[in-house]
Symmetry: C2
Subunit: 130 residues, 2 copies
DNA sequence: CTTGAGCCTGTACTTGCTACAGACTTTATA
DNA sequence: TATAAAGTCTGTAGCAAGTACAGGCTCAAG
């Protein structure tokens, strides 16, 4: 299968496949005589793993770690779970941050009288420190 | 006041000040004979506005919009509030996304037996589509 | 046999900064 | 006053994580 087909099958942008190869997530595929990349089922599996991990918010570096564990074949369930849990904690932190931000924005908007005057408490709020 | 002092007073990275000037958020300050930037109180106010807006998650482009309204002097409370509300909606969307992600990660981790075997449901989950 | 689609490479662009290098100026210390 | 240290100047390169070309080949269909 060539690059375009792999892109279609996985829903991945065709250029992104090349990018994942460049940064070492996706192994260099064999080539035809004329230099065309030829992908096997294994590549598709790995690419799906990468795409899914990205959707779950893992960084490229984290995925590199996960892949080396998995591809090494000697990973343990505990190792993978630990990394996933660490990531879960990071996601939860981010949610907490965003909720604080949400509260601040709600407060800011609530302070607005909604009039047509150039006297806006939102602007005032923006110039204040936290 | 010179750039370093403005950085210290606002807590902004010194290079970031130059960056905000480059992208047109912070007006070009007057210079000394030898070319050193000289900032007035107005610059500090604007910089604080930018910093605060960034903390609230506004993009550079959005801040450019807010500043042009504010600096134009003819903004209305409604205009500013509308933009802030739009941003609030975006923040809420992001929270919803992250919560979905959190649920998926919790589910994934829960599927793990925590053993020392190389048989990991997390890895399986990662290769599946959504 | 020609046309268009697909693939190849390298490079530039994005966002929001941050971090240098190398030259210059200002300030503090001996 | 001389010199050292700290500050500032410019331009440029780097980060994540892709995306989007340009210009050249190659492959398949009509």
């Amino acid at each position: 299968m060539k690059r375009g087909q792999l892109a279609t099958r996985t829903g991945c942008n065709i250029e992104t496949i090349r990018y994942y190869e460049k940064v070492g997530l996706l192994p260099d595929p064999p080539r035809t005589e004329k230099g065309y990349r030829v992908y096997e089922h294994k590549h598709e599996q790995t690419l799906r793993f990468i795409i899914r991990s990205r959707e779950l918010g893992f960084t490229i570096e984290q995925i590199r770690g996960l892949l080396s564990l998995v591809d090494g074949g000697d990973y343990t369930c505990t190792e993978i779970r630990d990394q996933t849990e660490a990531h879960l904690a990071a996601v939860r932190d981010r949610i907490v941050d965003l909720k604080k931000l949400e509260a601040t924005l709600v407060e800011t908007v609530a302070a607005c009288n909604g009039g047509n005057t150039p006297n806006c408490p939102v602007v005032d709020a923006l110039t204040k420190e936290i």
